[in-house]
């Protein structure tokens, strides 16, 4: 949970902030500090309370929840909600579907966009700017614009009914191309030209020079895509009809439809969807922060 490791957003600011805030602190505005701490705690409670409540509900028995009286902490913790969910639904299958789909999308995105990003950033050829501009204009288009023909297309290609119906359209995002091009532009062109003069092929330049220098880019792109795909909803909702292909968000909606107002079961399953990504997010926070800061893709 510690965030001091994030280089771009945190380390440098610590010095700067303390530099300019120091005179104010010296002036003895202790009241200001206390007000800020109270404010920070208040904001944190608003953010954390729904998550805390989700945990409480997931670990409370049904009778406990239907009691009707206000209780902010659980009286007795129980795992029966999880048992009910695991017994009634193919949770393991949905979980592995989510892992398989999001990991494949992330790996595919990294591979395809590193290649494309290198071409757009370092290779000179006619048409590259046009390609980049067209890709950019598609960056913000919501899937609802293209969902009808996309569904027909996926069906006609014979992808409907397989993971690929979700994987390929999700991987077709210009975000990775945009991010990769921007990053690879910062690799000095002299380095690449020197290797070319030494007789290295473009492929060799890519594998020996660009790839090793792109490790931060690979991490950012991988985690951002993983997060997005893990949480993706609108397109998988359309593209996955068979129960056994569901990802966790789609399974979550399905399960809620079955359980209705049985919040214990729904929240237990929601935790299974949420916890892995939140843990990953906090552990690799700096990559996610960079990714979000550069793109605004959410």
């Amino acid at each position: 949970m510690t965030t001091s490791r994030t280089p771009s957003l945190r380390a440098p600011r610590l010095q700067r902030a303390s530099k300019f805030a120091a005179p104010r602190a010296r002036r003895g505005t202790k009241r200001g500090l206390i007000a800020r701490i109270v404010g920070a705690i208040f904001i944190s409670i608003i953010v954390l309370f729904p998550l805390y409540w989700m945990l409480v509900v997931a670990f409370s028995s049904r009778s406990e929840l239907l009691g009707g009286t206000l209780r902010l902490w659980p009286r007795a913790l129980t795992a029966q909600n999880f048992e009910r969910v695991l017994a009634g639904f193919p949770v393991a299958t949905w979980f592995s579907n989510s892992v398989a789909i999001s990991a494949t999308v992330a790996i595919l995105t990294v591979l395809v966009n590193l290649l494309g990003g290198y071409a757009l950033a370092q290779l000179k050829f006619r048409g590259s700017n046009v390609v980049f501009l067209i890709a950019l204009t598609t960056l913000m288009i919501p899937v609802q614009v293209i969902m009808v023909p996309l569904f027909k297309l996926v069906t006609n290609l014979g992808l409907y009914g397989s993971y690929w119906a979700v994987i390929l359209p999700t991987a077709a995002s210009a975000f990775g191309l945009f991010l990769s091009r921007q990053f690879i532009l910062s690799i000095p062109r002299d380095l690449i030209e020197a290797a070319r003069i030494d007789g290295a092929s473009h492929l060799r330049v890519f594998t020996r020079i660009v790839l090793p220098l792109s490790k931060p880019l690979i991490a950012v792109l991988f985690f951002m895509t993983l997060l997005q795909s893990w949480n993706d909803f609108a397109w998988p909702l359309i593209a996955l009809k068979q129960n056994e292909l569901f990802t966790l968000p789609i399974g979550l909606l399905y399960l809620q439809g079955q359980f209705g107002s049985d919040f214990g079961a729904t929240m237990a399953f929601a935790l299974i969807n949420v916890v892995p990504m939140v843990v990953l997010f906090l552990v690799f926070q700096r990559f996610f922060v960079q990714g979000f800061a550069r793109s605004g893709i959410k």
């Binding site: 067209i134 288009i141 919501p142 077709a172 996610f288």
Partner: protein, 319 residues
């Protein structure tokens, strides 16, 4: 290089060295062809994916929007009839107005709250990093789970919020059956989900403001409020513009939260353009009409995307 470096008369000129080793004309022509070939080859996987799964469906959407369709079968061209129908469709206008309202309310609120949080968490504060981490946790949570947490909190019979409200002695709110309250609940959940992102961008923007500006302002006698107004706010201009555009685009495309929390109800009080397009295309299966709604969404998206790229700031704002 070494031989050139020993000679004081010669500045080591890379181009000259290169020209010496590689006679320019024939070799450079071949090199250019190779480079172009490599460029297109490296781009091929991307072009295939984007072309097949984005550009083809995009053009196809425009075509279908001029058609009358029957389920997923082949349609017949009916000119602008779908668009004429849009003009006189009360549900379309209701969804458009809801989308606009949602955008107008969510955009300034998430920016304002994000700025407040950024300033707070950029000041001297114990456990600052921890507070920042807490605020961005919702960004890792799926829209479906966020919406279901919203249902849990705002449920009319059993929701924790109504329980709290009654506990304080206030009358409970009809979060689900009342149109206005349902709309408000969707906005509140969206803010919970999104303020962290706004804070992140503003934090990065605050980093770029040199401390000497604050010191100078302070020497000139500017108080905390004046410093915020005349130093912080103007210098965060690029961040604000970037966020304005992104918030507008994302508000326009709000789907997960609305679809799961309210399904557009009660009585279409929370129906927005993307949920209406989805319902038309995949529930009532009126594909041509759904495509026409899609084209409207596309045009709106294009306008704001163009605005974003017209300013060089947005792109390189955060390094």
């Amino acid at each position: 290089m070494t031989t050139l470096a020993t000679d004081h008369e010669h500045v080591p000129d890379i181009a000259a060295v290169r020209a010496q080793n590689f006679p320019p004309t024939p070799r450079r022509g071949l090199e250019a062809v190779r480079e172009a070939l490599a460029g297109w080859l490296f781009l091929t996987p991307n072009l295939l994916l984007l072309g097949l799964f984005v550009l083809v469906p995009l053009l196809w959407t425009v075509v279908i929007s001029f058609q009358k369709t029957n389920g997923f079968g082949v349609g017949e061209f009916i000119g602008l009839a779908n668009y004429q129908r849009l003009m006189s469709d009360p549900l379309f206008w209701r969804s458009a107005v809801n989308t606009l309202l949602f955008t107008i309310i969510v955009t300034p609120l998430s920016m304002g709250l994000g700025l407040g949080a950024a300033v707070l968490f950029n000041s001297i504060l114990p456990a600052r990093g921890l507070f920042r981490s807490i605020l961005i946790v919702p960004m890792a949570i799926s829209g479906v789970a966020t919406a279901l947490i919203g249902v849990l909190v705002f449920d009319e019979n059993n929701g924790i919020l109504d329980n709290l409200i009654r506990f304080v002695g206030l009358p409970s709110v009809n979060w689900q059956s009342g149109g206005l309250a349902a709309f408000a609940s969707v906005i509140l959940v969206t803010l919970w989900w999104r303020v962290g992102f706004n804070m992140l961008i503003y934090l990065a923007g605050l980093q770029g403001i040199g401390p000497e500006l604050y010191e100078a302002a302070e020497l000139d006698g500017a108080g905390a409020v004046a410093r915020f107004r005349h130093v912080t706010v103007p210098l965060l201009g690029p961040s604000s513009f970037f966020l304005l555009i992104l918030n507008v685009i994302y508000s326009f495309q709000v789907f997960d939260i609305v679809f799961v929390m309210t399904g557009g109800g009660p009585q279409n009080a929370t129906s927005v353009l993307v949920t209406y397009a989805y319902d038309t295309g995949f529930v009532t299966r009126d594909q041509g009409y759904a495509a026409a709604i899609g084209v409207v969404l596309l045009l709106v998206t294009f306008v704001f995307t163009a605005l974003r790229w017209r300013t060089s700031h947005g792109r390189d704002l955060v390094e």
